[in-house]
Each structure stands twice: as structure tokens, then as C-alpha cells.
């Protein structure tokens, strides 16, 4: 069994020279999680700023709270918009191409010398 102190680092290597910790079976997931979580935070910050704007607009009498919260004027257009958004978000999961080309995974590691 490893000593509990094996993970202790006692040299002054800079942070950028140390690889980030890995928690998932595939380290790619760790990195994608990082991207996603940054986006989630950005989304919340924007949400907060929109709310600030809305509150201010209502307070100044530029718009009414009822008008802000009213249903879309064109229900069908709203559905089309939601569908486009959902497709853009989820299409990558299908794993198919958008322009014709080679398929699958490739490696340049094997075969004759290049």
C-alpha cells in the first residue's frame, strides 16, 4: 500500500506544469465538464443581468410587468424557435456528419512509415 504522504508535493514546479486532476474514466469528460460548468455560470450571470434590466424597465415605467410576462404573440413561431434550439443543442448526440467525408475513428500510429 502507498504511504499516505506519497501525494505530497515538495517542489516548486509551477501550476501550468502540473496536469489537472482526473475524476472520470475518460479525462475528456473532466474537461468537457469544465467547459459546460463555465457556460452554466455564464448563463446564470446573464440571467441575473436580464432580471436587473427587467426590474429597472418596469420601475421606470418603460414596460409593464404584465407585458413582460405575457405569452408570445406568435405561439407557432415560438415553438419553431424552441425546436431549432433543441436541435442545435442535441444534434451532436446523433453522431452523424453534416458534410460528407471519412467516417469513424482514425489513427496514424499503425501502418508503413510516413
Amino acid at each position: 500500500m502507498k504511504s499516505p504522504r506519497d501525494y505530497v508535493i515538495e517542489n516548486n514546479e509551477p501550476a501550468t506544469m502540473r496536469s489537472e486532476q482526473i475524476f472520470f474514466d475518460d479525462p475528456a469528460v473532466d474537461r468537457v465538464m469544465g467547459v459546460l460548468f463555465s457556460l452554466a455560470q455564464e448563463h446564470y450571470v446573464l440571467h441575473d443581468r436580464v432580471r436587473a434590466l427587467e426590474e429597472l424597465l418596469v420601475e421606470k415605467g418603460v414596460v409593464s410587468a404584465e407585458a413582460l410576462n405575457a405569452p408570445p404573440r406568435d405561439e407557432a413561431a415560438a415553438h419553431r424557435d424552441a425546436a431549432e434550439f433543441a436541435e442545435a443543442l442535441l444534434r451532436p448526440i446523433l453522431g452523424v456528419q453534416t458534410a460528407k467525408g471519412l467516417t469513424g475513428r482514425f489513427s496514424l500510429a499503425r501502418g508503413k512509415a510516413q
Binding site: 500500500m1 499516505p4 504522504r5 501525494y7 505530497v8 508535493i9 515538495e10 517542489n11 516548486n12 501550476a15 486532476q21 475524476f23 472520470f24 474514466d25 473532466d30 465538464m33 469544465g34 460548468f37 463555465s38 452554466a40 455560470q41 455564464e42 446564470y44 450571470v45 441575473d48 443581468r49 436587473a52
Partner: protein
């Protein structure tokens, strides 16, 4: 970054941390217990817990979030480090309230930092708490959410710590080791107004914040000195209380031996030493998360501290009346509903 966006970004991280501390933790614990039941095992060691937990999908997320929420808090787009860096001049001016030569603050520009201290950016704070002028403010701000469920009451635990110390007697001279920005030093100075309190720390940026805070509170019985806790420069037998909070787990075991030596040296006969720290969980699952936290949050000496025989080390140095017991960081802290650190009250007396 503007103030509102910074606050929103940090609020989001805190909310996520609260979710992690409660919902994600309790679900993980439930899955672990179910798995143990299913396998008919009762793990007693951290390794046995790891064999089971590290195969749970939720654990991968739990561990990832623990590390990365902290990265976001300090170094992200809405992190504390960039926030204070952008406001460097104005925030440093705000705490620049200690007149030159005022004995409340004694800095040592020639201070050499120990290698262990430079090798790890503690708490994932880039550059640590010592290398940038704004680091003390960053650390002070960050400490508000170390225990995310405490919210605005995060300072209370230091006052309750001072209160527990008071139950054992009233000191006249106090040394607070590794005092940082004075989170415990100030409550001690307030609780014991007749005592002279000295806080020592390696980090000048933290000491500047501490001295500013003390002046802002009008405290006359406290001063701060830049010094290593193992070599405080205080006279032998000059204090009757030595304290520290959340310090021992941040230094290698070989340093803890020297910390105890220094405490024994500066204490008067019959004086007390009291540390508030994260020590040992009897429960193997909690211990597994605690040791993992040490690795994930750049606090590599957490596990070594928990595995030290502190009572024996204290006895070897002539300490008596050794008392090691759990400390509640808040009156309603409950390990069943939320992840908690092994808060521990560690007290001993130098033989009279």
C-alpha cells in the same frame, strides 16, 4: 468584471456548493450504503470504502465538483483572484490604515518562506495566501464560503471557539499561531480584553488585513507579527495561552513536532494550548471523503495530521490534561444531512 456580475457568478457557485454539500453528498452516502448492503460488507478502512465508492458514477461527479467549484471560486472568470486584481489599487488603499511604525503590525521583508508552503497553492488559491498583495483580501473573502451552509454566520464559530476557551480560564497573554487575517485572533482579543494577544503568520498580505481589521474594531490589546509558528521570536515562558485554528492540517508532520515544541517553549508553566482543527473521523466513509478533500483542495497534510498520534506527541513534550473532542462549527450542524469536516477541539496544558 462589474460588481453585479461578480456577485452573481459567486452566488451561483455558492448555490452549487450548497447543493453539493447536501443533496449530492446524501445521495452519494445512500448509494454507498446500498452497495455495502448489497455486497454484504461493512468497510472499516478508507481503502475498503474506496473499493466501493470509486466505482459509483455519482462519486466521479462529487469529486469533480469539489475540485472545480473551488477553481471557479478562486480562478474562474468571476473568481476572487481576478476580481481583486482588477481593483488592486483601490482595495489595497482601503486597508492601508496602519501608520508606519505602529506596533500593531511588525513585518519582516526578509522572511523566507518554507518550501512546503511554496510548493502547494493552499485551498487552490493561485499563488497561495502570501505571494500577492491582495491575497489576504482574497483569502478573507473566500473564507466566507468555506463552510457553505453557515452563510453570514461563518464568523460565529470563531467566537464560539473563544467562548469554549474562556470556559477553561482567562488568559493574560495569548499567542495565536498562523493567524492569517485574524479570524480567531480578533475574537480572542475581544473575548479577553485584559489580555495581550499576538498573532503570527508567514503571510504579510494576511497580516495587513488582520491589523486593518483590528484597528477598524478599535482593539488596543492585539498585535500582529510576521513570523513562522515554529520560530515566533517570543520570549520563553511569556504567554499563558497558545492557540491556532485550521492550521495544523496545513503543515507537514515534521513541522507539527516543531509547533508543539514552540508552544511548550513560549508557554508559562500551567499555561494552555488549544487548537481548532480537522482531525480524525471514526467513520470510514467520512474519513474517505476527508482524505480525498485534502488531495482535491490542495491541502495535502490533512490525512497525515489525521493519522498522527497527537496525544502521544503532546505527552512527550510534557503536556498534561489532554482533551480531544468534536467541535460543532454551528449549533445545528448535522452529518446526516450535509457533508462536514471533522472539526476538533484539541486542548492540553503545560505541566505546572
Amino acid at each position: 468584471m462589474n460588481e453585479r456580475s461578480f456577485n452573481a457568478g459567486q452566488r451561483f457557485l455558492l448555490a452549487a456548493k450548497q447543493y453539493w454539500t447536501t443533496k449530492m453528498y446524501t445521495q452519494l452516502r445512500r448509494e454507498y450504503e446500498d452497495k455495502c448492503k448489497q455486497l454484504g460488507v461493512e468497510p472499516k478502512t478508507v481503502s475498503e470504502v474506496a473499493e466501493i465508492t470509486e466505482n459509483l458514477t455519482l462519486y466521479h461527479f462529487f469529486a469533480w465538483f469539489e475540485r472545480h467549484l473551488q477553481i471557479g471560486k478562486y480562478a474562474g472568470r468571476y473568481g476572487l483572484v481576478p476580481y481583486y486584481a482588477e481593483r488592486r489599487q483601490e482595495v489595497l488603499k482601503e486597508i492601508d490604515t496602519v501608520p508606519e511604525g505602529d506596533p500593531i503590525l511588525e513585518l519582516n521583508p526578509d522572511m523566507k518562506m518554507p518550501l512546503y508552503y511554496e510548493a502547494t497553492d493552499i485551498h487552490q488559491h493561485p499563488g497561495g495566501v502570501w505571494s500577492d498583495d491582495t491575497a489576504g483580501l482574497v483569502y478573507q473573502h473566500g473564507a466566507r464560503t468555506t463552510t457553505p451552509l453557515l452563510g453570514a454566520a461563518h464568523e460565529d464559530l470563531h467566537y464560539r471557539f473563544a467562548e469554549e476557551i474562556a470556559a477553561g480560564g482567562t488568559p493574560t497573554a495569548v499567542l495565536d499561531m498562523a493567524c492569517g487575517f485574524g479570524k480567531t485572533t480578533l475574537p480572542l482579543a475581544i473575548r479577553f480584553p485584559e489580555a495581550q494577544v499576538v498573532g503570527v503568520d508567514l503571510a504579510a498580505p494576511c497580516l495587513r488585513v488582520a491589523a486593518h481589521n483590528a484597528r477598524a474594531k478599535g482593539l488596543k490589546n492585539v498585535r500582529f507579527k510576521q513570523a513562522d509558528a515554529i520560530e515566533t521570536g517570543l520570549e520563553s515562558g511569556s504567554v499563558d495561552l497558545v492557540t491556532s485554528s485550521m492550521f495544523l492540517h496545513e503543515v507537514p508532520p515534521r513541522y507539527i513536532e516543531k509547533v508543539l515544541d514552540e508552544a511548550a517553549r513560549v508557554l508559562k508553566p500551567g499555561g494552555r494550548m488549544v487548537h481548532l482543527d480537522f482531525y480524525y473521523f471514526p467513520d470510514a466513509f467520512a474519513r474517505f471523503l476527508h482524505y480525498g478533500h485534502g488531495r482535491r483542495n490542495n491541502e495535502p497534510y490533512m490525512q497525515p495530521l489525521a493519522e498522527l498520534d497527537l496525544p502521544e506527541m503532546m505527552r512527550e513534550r510534557g503536556f498534561t490534561d489532554i482533551e480531544i473532542r468534536p467541535f460543532k462549527e454551528s449549533p445545528d450542524a448535522d452529518s446526516k444531512t450535509a457533508w462536514r469536516f471533522p472539526w476538533t477541539y484539541i486542548s492540553a496544558r503545560k505541566a505546572a
